[in-house]
Symmetry: C2
Subunit: 124 residues, 2 copies
């Protein structure tokens, strides 16, 4: 397992998260809800499911690919800390509804995305 490859993948994942997040937050109405973080987290869960299915289920890709692309790129592309700070910020300003919707939607759709990715990757 190459730490250099994991580092390069992590760098690409972090930069991609910020670029995608900034693009989404810049759309009309994009700032009303933290859509940027939401979108990368759901997309990343789908892609990690797909990758896991292709590696573990079908054996089409080597386990090292899962470490570099999954733990390196997608691990850095998705983020937990910013999501949690977004939830805290909504609670702090008294918007409990936004915090609950964000928590429930991110976890629920994230699970659905992971399941869909795994099903597609595994091919069953």
């Amino acid at each position: 397992m190459s730490w250099v490859l994991i580092g390069v993948a992590g760098a690409a994942g972090a930069v991609a998260r910020l670029l995608v997040g900034a693009w989404i937050d810049g759309r009309p109405g994009g700032r009303a809800f933290p859509w940027g973080t939401f979108a990368v987290n759901i997309a990343g869960s789908l892609l990690l499911g797909l990758l896991t299915g292709l590696v573990v289920g079908r054996g089409w890709l080597a386990p090292e690919v899962k470490v570099v692309l999954g733990a390196g790129f997608l691990g850095a592309f998705t983020t937990f800390s910013t999501w949690l700070l977004d939830l805290h910020e909504a609670l702090r300003r008294g918007d409990h509804r936004a915090a609950f919707v964000n928590a429930a939607l991110s976890t629920g759709l994230g699970l659905l995305a992971a399941w869909l990715g795994l099903a597609l990757g595994w091919g069953r």
Copy 2:
């Protein structure tokens, strides 16, 4: 804002996540629950709260530091996709209790950690 610095921070965050995760999972009983991902996510939420407090609250650090260390390093150090796949895996094997405990504990303690970090950083 330097994309090179963000990339370097993202690389360091991803590698640090894997090193800390592997160290924790290697401890006795470490594999019974995904403690590695849990630990980096809670620690990252605490540190992002602390950093946000120091930058936004006290103004001790420049906003660029928050982008590089917060979005770059801590964004890559914490991960949403692996956490979601862990939840999915627990549900798939029928261990609903582990999935619920992981979801509730990660979100609840993460919020507490973010609040504590913000309180410490902001100094109020």
